[in-house]
């Protein structure tokens, strides 16, 4: 495990030295969060009952005023971005973690050291996971503060920021990020172009979009049981994906077939 930390520290050091990549990767989520808060604040001042006309309301919005509903819908929509961020933030970092080593020919001396594949991949994955989780949680905190500050009534804040949403964010979001990273690592060890590896994480958008539409339609309710069930399912997939990443990381193939 100590070698995984050594790899993690080196990756983080390299990332810090790549100002452009760092800004592009870690600067966008706060910008999106600020945008979400601004749109949420403006939605509270939407005129009349434009928002609710002809739309069947989910149970948690019934009884709210027109402005409250407008804000709540916008807030709920944007609340899902915190499940999309963990898919996108690590994709650049994780894909360069392996493909970058292959491209720069640094992998052979690295594999010549007494480091196990699992230690290497844990270190690489941590370097993408830690900033992702920290940044997503920081942005989520900012979002919560914005909602609390600019919700037209406390009822709106209560509809957007639910204990279920917090639980899903705390428990499921890191697992979702981990699955994405493991998928990228699997693909990274088989391709030479980091962009190819980045694309694979896009498949995780599908379940996240399902979460968005399910929540808006009232079919899905983000509560503690949902978060725990999600943790079980995602935890299983994360374990399988990490195991696969380790098993499929062919040291020999990478050294002898990649040019």
């Amino acid at each position: 495990m100590s070698k995984a930390l050594v790899v993690f520290q080196k990756e983080w050091l390299e990332l810090r030295l790549q100002r452009g990549l760092l800004l592009a990767t870690l600067g966008v989520p706060p910008a999106i969060t600020v945008f979400a808060i601004v749109v949420f604040a403006l939605a509270g001042h939407a005129p009349g009952d434009v928002v609710t006309r002809g739309i069947p309301l989910p149970p948690d919005l019934i009884g709210l005023s027109s402005n409250e509903i407008a804000q709540a819908i916008v807030g709920k929509q944007f609340s899902v971005i915190f499940f999309l961020l963990p898919v996108f933030i690590p994709s650049v970092i994780a894909s360069y973690a392996i493909v970058g080593e292959k491209r720069d020919r640094t992998l052979e001396p690295l594999l010549a050291t007494p480091i196990r594949t699992s230690q290497l991949l844990v270190g690489k994955s941590l370097s993408a996971l830690v900033p992702t989780v920290v940044l997503t949680l920081a942005c989520a905190l900012l979002f919560v503060a914005g909602i609390a500050l600019w919700a037209v009534t406390p009822r709106v804040a209560g509809v957007v920021i639910t204990p279920g949403w917090v639980a899903v964010l705390a428990v499921d979001m890191p697992l979702l990020a981990l699955i994405g990273i493991a998928l990228i690592v699997i693909v990274s060890s088989r391709v030479n172009d980091p962009r190819t590896a980045q694309q694979v994480s896009a498949v995780l958008i599908v379940p996240v979009l399902g979460l968005l539409f399910g929540q808006l339609s009232g079919v899905l309710v983000l509560n503690l049981p949902f978060a725990l069930l999600g943790a079980l399912v995602l935890g299983f997939f994360a374990f399988v994906a990490l195991r696969l990443a380790t098993d499929l990381f062919g040291r020999e193939a990478i050294l002898t077939r990649w040019r």
Binding site: K10, E14, L17, R105, P109, T113, R116, R251, E252
Partner: protein
């Protein structure tokens, strides 16, 4: 003195294609072993096999007392490798690069710092220790990669083309450093295309072309291929003395070119006085006598030209 490296029928195939076939060598501790061969001969594959980077298809090897495949982590701790390409992290400084690898080789933080300083100073990179490696010249990168291979003080070193692409001054520094490492008692497995370099540094040389073509000391390789001989420079035309030389029972072949009389002799050191006496007796005025010396390039080209036959 035991062997630092022993291979027994070491073989590696890739999808049915043989890269290394039935390699049998024994390399004594504290020697420099030159591994020569044309591009694509399997030299880098052999280094990767012996450094436990890839597994053999057949045969086995013992490197620094560790059998391949038995405990590869222990084997990797006992060897250092300079790969074909230096493979350094360009954004990190020289010190950061080395510290990273020192920690991967299980050195404590304190020892890592000491070793990093020691080798950066030895290789004259200490003044540039905090500069990004991306700003380094090719020679500096190569020296840094050599330092990286030595941080954990391995008894066995694999150097794959250590002076390839370096200017003469940088190449000289690297060669001097290799000689220093040999004096420290390390075993060095050196692959190179630079034949004068191999001649200068290596105790033993193997010519390899998917399989071992020939192995021996540089002197053994020369005499084995070309035989021993003497060149006699004579004042005037040497041709009249060819017949005189042929008449001597220990002369296997003789030829003349201007003043130069070239002779293949079984044991020049013992027979040269008798030869000179015979030539002078026949009226030859001798300018000087020297051994026939074939370059390692002659040896290499002959062996590789034979295609390993």
């Amino acid at each position: 003195m035991g062997n630092a490296i022993e291979t027994h029928g070491l073989t590696r195939r890739f999808d049915g294609r043989v890269a290394v076939e039935d390699l049998n060598v024994a390399i004594p501790e504290g020697t420099v072993f030159g591994f020569l061969g044309p591009n694509g001969a399997g030299k880098t594959t052999t280094v990767r096999l012996l450094a436990a980077l890839i597994a053999p298809s057949a045969g086995d090897a013992i490197v620094a007392g560790h059998r391949l495949g038995a405990d590869d982590d222990a084997l990797r701790r006992s060897v250092g490798i300079l790969t074909e390409s230096p493979g350094l992290y360009e954004r990190l400084s020289a010190r950061q690069n080395l510290t990273y690898f020192a920690r991967l080789y299980d050195l404590t933080t304190g020892r890592a710092a000491k070793q990093v300083e020691r080798y950066l100073r030895m290789l004259e990179l200490w003044d540039r220790r905090d500069d990004p490696v991306g700003t380094f010249s090719k020679g500096m990168r190569q020296k840094l990669a050599i330092a990286r291979a030595l941080l954990h003080e391995p008894p066995v070193l694999f150097l794959d083309e250590p002076t390839a692409g370096l200017d003469p001054e940088a190449a000289r520094t690297v060669r001097d450093f290799v000689a220093l490492l040999r004096r420290e008692g390390r075993t060095i497995f050196l692959t190179t295309h630079n034949l004068p370099e191999a001649d200068e540094l290596c105790d033993t040389i193997a010519v390899f072309q998917r399989h071992l073509v020939r192995v021996g000391t540089p002197t053994e390789l020369r005499s084995g291929l070309f035989g021993a001989g003497t060149v006699v420079r004579i004042v005037g035309d040497a041709r009249p003395f060819v017949a005189v030389a042929h008449a001597l029972p220990f002369v296997r072949d003789a030829g003349a070119d201007g003043e130069r009389l070239s002779l293949r002799i079984d044991d020049p050191e013992a027979r040269n006085p008798e030869l000179i006496e015979a030539l002078m007796g026949a009226g030859a005025r001798i300018r000087y006598v020297e051994p026939i010396r074939h370059s390692l390039e002659d040896v290499y080209l002959r062996l590789v030209g034979q295609g390993g036959k």
